[in-house]
C-alpha cells in the first residue's frame, strides 16, 4: 500500500476556534483520518518541535496554520513548517488577515505592556515586573519568546500557498480543501479557497436589498428589532456582506446577525475596510457636513467595525505611533 499523504495542523496567535472547526468535521473526520496521516497537531496529539525538526524537508504534503504571528517563537515555527511542508495553508481569519488579534496593531507594544502589566485595574505589580526574554534562575538561563512590535499575517513572515478564510473556516470549506489537495488538481498559488464573489450574492435576503439605500441612522443589532426576512443593510444595520467574500453560506445572516467580515475581501478588493467604508458612506442620506457627521456618529469605532478581522492585512497595517 502506498504511503498516505502527510498533513499537519499548527496554531499561533489564535483562540482555539480554528482547532474546534477541524473537530466540527464530525463524521467526515474519519474520512480525512482514513485518507491522510496526521503527522503534527499539537492541540490534539503529543508532538514536540523536535519531532518536526526530525522530519525530512518537504515531507509533509500540507500544513494548515491558524493564528496570527505575534511572537518570535511563532515566527520560527512558521519557518520550520514552511521547510517541512510542500504546501502551507493559512487557516482562518488570523493567519489569513491578522484576525481579531491584529486589532492590537492600534497600540504600540509599549502601550500594551504598560496596560497589561501595570495600568489594568485588576493588576497589582508594585515591583513593575515585565516579561523578559531571558532570566537567570538558580544556575539556569530561562528564556521566553519575544513579543514582536507588530501582529502579522502568516504571509507577512513566510510564503503561503493557499488561504482558507473564516473565523473559523466552515467544515465544508475544510473538507473541500482536503479533497482538492488529495485530488492533486491544485489551484494557482495564492488562491483563497472560497468562491470569489460577494457574500450578498449568496445571501438568502439578497432580493430584499434595495439598489438605492439611503441611511439616516445606523443601528447596532441588539438595539433594534430586526425583521428576519429583510436585508440587514436595508434595516440600517452595518452588514459587511457587500465587501466580504462568499463561502460561509451566510451563517451570521441566518442567525439574524449582520456579517462582520470574517471571510475577507474578494480578489478585486485590496482593502476590505476602505471598500466597506466607501460603499456605506456613499449611501448616507444627508448632503451637508453636519448632517453627514450626525449619521456617522452611529459608527463610533470605524477601525474595529471595518477591519475587525484584517487590520494586519490592510493597506496601513497599524496605527502610526511615535514608539513604533
Amino acid at each position: 500500500m502506498p504511503e498516505k499523504p502527510k498533513i499537519g495542523f499548527y496554531w499561533c496567535a489564535s483562540c482555539g476556534g480554528c482547532e474546534e472547526s477541524v473537530v466540527d468535521l464530525a463524521e467526515d473526520i474519519v474520512m480525512v483520518a482514513d485518507a491522510v496521516d496526521i503527522v503534527f497537531w499539537p492541540v490534539a496529539m503529543d508532538f514536540k518541535r523536535a519531532d518536526v525538526e526530525a522530519m525530512e524537508d518537504g515531507s509533509i504534503l500540507a500544513t494548515m496554520v491558524n493564528g496570527a504571528i505575534r511572537t518570535s517563537e511563532q515566527e520560527e515555527m512558521a519557518e520550520l513548517i514552511r521547510r517541512k511542508s510542500k504546501i502551507v495553508i493559512a487557516y482562518g481569519s488570523c493567519a489569513h488577515m491578522g484576525g481579531i488579534p491584529s486589532l492590537a496593531n492600534e497600540f504600540s507594544r509599549t502601550q500594551i505592556m504598560e496596560f497589561m502589566y501595570q495600568e489594568s485595574p485588576s493588576v497589582v505589580n508594585p515591583d513593575k515586573t515585565r516579561p523578559m526574554t531571558s532570566v537567570k534562575h538558580n544556575s539556569f538561563n530561562v528564556t521566553l519568546p519575544e513579543i514582536r512590535n507588530l501582529v502579522r499575517t502568516l504571509d507577512q513572515v513566510i510564503e503561503v500557498d493557499y488561504y482558507l478564510p473564516g473565523c473559523p473556516p466552515t467544515p465544508k470549506l475544510l473538507k473541500d480543501a482536503v479533497l482538492t489537495l488529495l485530488s492533486g488538481k491544485l489551484p494557482p498559488k495564492g488562491t483563497v479557497l472560497s468562491p470569489d464573489e460577494a457574500l450578498c450574492d449568496q445571501c438568502a435576503r439578497k432580493d430584499t436589498k434595495p439598489s438605492d439605500l439611503s441611511f439616516k441612522h445606523f443601528y447596532r443589532p441588539h438595539a433594534v428589532l430586526l425583521d428576519s426576512t429583510k436585508c440587514l443593510l436595508s434595516q440600517g444595520v452595518v452588514c459587511m456582506g457587500p465587501a466580504t467574500r462568499a463561502g460561509c453560506e451566510a451563517l451570521c445572516i441566518s442567525a439574524n446577525m449582520p456579517c462582520s467580515g470574517c471571510f475577507g475581501p474578494t480578489s478585486r478588493v485590496r482593502d476590505q475596510g476602505a471598500k466597506m467604508l466607501s460603499s456605506l458612506c456613499s449611501n448616507i442620506d444627508p448632503k451637508d457636513e453636519d448632517g453627514i457627521d450626525a449619521v456617522l456618529e452611529d459608527i463610533p469605532d470605524p477601525v474595529g467595525t471595518f477591519y475587525r478581522y484584517g487590520l494586519a492585512s490592510s493597506l496601513l497595517r497599524k496605527k502610526i505611533t511615535e514608539d513604533m
Binding site: 515566527e75 476602505a274 458612506c281 477601525v303 502610526i320
Partner: protein, 167 residues
Amino acid sequence: MPEKNIKSNYEPKIVAFFCNWCTYTAADLAGVSRLKYAPNVRVIRIMCSGRVDPQFILQAFASGADGVLIGGCHPGDCHYAEGNYKMLRRFRLLKRMLKDLGIADERLRLEWISASEGEKVKLVINEMVEQVKALGPLAIPQHLKNINEELKHFPGEEIREEEMAHA
C-alpha cells in the same frame, strides 16, 4: 516615527486627485496664468471626485505620500450629479478613521475648486504644503521597514520595495 527630527530641507510629497471638470482645469489655468505654487504636488486626473476610492487614498499614504488632496466641483455642480456628495461622505468618516490610525487631520484635505478658481488652487496647495511640512514626514514605508527589521527574514521585502519604487 521620524516626525521629530524634521530635516530643514524636507519637502513633503502630496498626492492630489483632481476632478477633470473643475479642479484639474483650474490647476491648468493656474499654470497658464503663471501663478506660482509649491512643486510638491503630484496630480492625478480623475473624471469626478466621486471616483476617488478610499483605497486610493490609503494606497497613497502606504506608498509614502505625506498628504493627500482631493479637488472636486462645488456642491450642485458635479457633472455626475452626486459624485462630490459621495466623496464628502466618505471623506468625513475616512478622516475620523485615519485619526484613529495616527494620521493627522491636515494630511487629508478635500476642497471644492471650480474651473475658474486658479487662484484657489494656488492658495490651497501652498497652505497644505506648509501645514504638512510643519508635521514632518509621514514616511509609512520607512516606518514599516524599521519595524520589519525585527523579523529574521522578510519574504515580502521585495514586494514592498517595488511598491515604494512606485511612490
